[in-house]
């Protein structure tokens, strides 16, 4: 006996709707939980002063700075490398065994737990190259960690640029590089930005890879050679060592706002760029 299409249709709507609802509810619950416990602790003093007694008292200014600088450094390193790799794989090579191996490699790299990157960064950057626990070590390690994401999202974005644009550009006597630079990359930018946002998000939320490479100093960083602590690491240490649950949740709440802010800025920049191009 066949089930009537009306029933399957109704069932599908209910199941899909329920899945969406559940997702939204879980997300909202997590954010509400963090904000409820964290927001009352946030004050101007919390945002603008250094921590005292290992974070039990005082603010989180150095960790805010660390949370801004470290992902920026990681993106500054990973973006040119990742987009360059993606352009090379899509526009300068034909699909063959080597490109398949490279792509498989990046996919594997994307699935490796971050603590492995942390250990690698510790052995290679911190000790072997003698960079010590520093923003530089942390930035390089995070860059390697987010590189696969940037490569793959950029590749997808570049592939989705209509072939017709390349043909026209080519028929107007543009070289391969001019086509990439003037036609392909501008049109792929929204997709590339998605990869950048994912990368920044991962970097901001990262703890394991950061503790091993950037350390967890509570001092204000003065140079790339100084150790820093990000808000995620701060939150982890405060909670893990039972230093201060209140300060931990306040840090988490600031972190949530920071991620929100980053996304808003990214959207705003994107819209401005698109509006400017198609004016």
């Amino acid at each position: 006996m066949r089930v009537s299409p009306k029933i399957t249709q109704a069932l599908a709507v209910i199941l899909l709707g329920a899945a969406t609802l559940l997702t939204v509810v879980v997300l909202v619950l997590i954010i509400a939980f963090v904000l409820k416990r964290g927001v009352p602790e946030i004050s101007w003093e919390f945002l603008s002063t250094k921590p005292r007694e290992m974070g039990k008292a005082g603010g989180i200014l150095p960790t805010i700075l660390g949370t801004v600088l470290l992902p920026l450094l990681a993106i500054a390193i990973a973006l040119p490398m990742g987009v360059g790799t993606a352009v090379y794989l899509t526009e300068y090579t034909r699909e063959n065994r080597i490109t398949k191996i490279i792509r498989f490699g990046t996919d594997c790299l994307a699935g490796i737990p971050s603590i492995i990157f942390g250990l690698f960064g510790y052995i290679f950057f911190v000790t072997m190259l003698g960079m010590g626990w520093s923003m530089l070590s942390g930035g390089l390690t995070l860059a390697i960690m987010i590189l696969p994401t940037i490569i793959r999202t950029s590749e997808e974005a570049i592939r989705s640029v209509p072939q017709a644009y390349r043909e026209v550009s080519c028929s107007l006597a543009a070289t391969n590089w001019e086509t990439v630079y003037k036609v392909v990359l501008p049109n792929a930018l929204p997709g590339i930005m998605t990869g950048v946002m994912l990368g920044i998000g991962r970097s901001i939320g990262e703890t394991a890879a950061v503790i091993f490479t950037a350390g967890s100093s509570l001092m204000m960083p003065n140079s790339l050679n100084d150790s820093v602590r990000t808000m995620s690491v701060h939150f982890y240490l405060l909670a893990r060592e039972g230093i201060s649950t209140e300060k931990a949740y306040a840090t988490a709440a600031v972190l949530v706002f920071a991620v929100l802010l980053v996304n808003l800025i990214a959207y705003w920049m994107m819209n401005r760029f698109i509006a400017k191009r198609s004016r």
Binding site: A164, S169, L172, N187, R277, S278
Partner: protein
């Protein structure tokens, strides 16, 4: 094959294709094809889908180079210069032999930036020079009067026929010698098609045009010489008048009378 002596006036050859074979992997898409392209004439290539007419067109400015696995033998000349020769600068070739595509494909940029694209690639950045060329190119494509006050509006917002004429203007801006058109009207309605055809007749005075078309009335209306292709062979080539009124080959006759194709 019909000789060219039948054409109205003796004419110079701008491009010559001799014994051209083209393979996509193991598939032979062009079989020992000849094609003389006369200067300041419209040459039409007709034939059913998959007969190789677009492939032949794309050999004239080496657009097939973009496709992996293509092998070409034979000779293509642009004013006695071998197009597939090692001394040929492909960029320069494509500047001299430009192309208009099947679907209007302006870049998602403003009207002005579309027209100046080829120039900016070539390194022209002086504003007054660009402005002058924008006006000249848009005038030549009959768009200036409609668009002179909308140079900064997005090209993708234009109606289809204006988009296609913008693509022509974009091409004219780099001052090509030969214009290849790959079914330039197949995405347009009859009125828009008429406008593009009028434009082609006008451009013929200054440029050499090769057009691929599915539309036989179009070939009959606008072209001076036509070639009928079938399964990679050039079946018949000659003045359009005689091809359409008195085809020498039975297969040509079948096709133009609608019995095949």
């Amino acid at each position: 094959m019909n000789s060219l002596s039948a054409s109205k006036t003796p004419n110079t050859l701008r491009m010559t294709v001799r014994d051209l074979n083209l393979f996509y992997g193991n598939f032979q898409a062009l079989k020992t094809v000849d094609l003389p392209v006369q200067a300041n004439r419209i040459t039409a290539l007709i034939g059913p889908s998959g007969c190789g007419k677009s492939t032949l067109l794309r050999c004239l400015n080496r657009m097939n180079d973009l496709i992996p696995g293509v092998k070409v033998t034979g000779e293509v000349l642009l004013d006695d210069q071998p197009v597939y020769g090692s001394g040929m600068d492909v960029c320069l070739l494509r500047k001299r032999v430009g192309m208009v595509f099947q679907r209007p494909n302006p870049f998602p940029l403003s009207v002005r930036d579309n027209v100046t694209f080829g120039l900016r690639v070539a390194g022209v950045f002086r504003q007054n020079q660009l402005q002058e060329i924008v006006e000249r190119s848009l005038r030549a494509a009959w768009l200036w009067d409609q668009l002179k006050d909308h140079l900064d509006s997005p090209a993708l917002a234009l109606p289809m026929d204006q988009q296609q004429r913008l693509c022509v203007a974009r091409l004219l801006a780099v001052e090509p010698e030969v214009i290849l058109m790959d079914e330039p009207c197949s995405a347009l309605d009859p009125i828009a098609t008429g406008k593009i055809e009028d434009l082609m007749m006008e451009l013929r005075e200054r440029y050499t045009i090769v057009i691929v078309t599915h539309n036989m009335q179009q070939a009959a209306r606008i072209s001076d010489v036509s070639g009928y292709m079938l399964l990679g062979d050039m079946i018949e080539f000659g003045p359009t008048d005689s091809i359409f009124t008195n085809p020498a080959d039975k297969r040509t006759q079948d096709y133009i009378s609608g019995r095949y194709g």
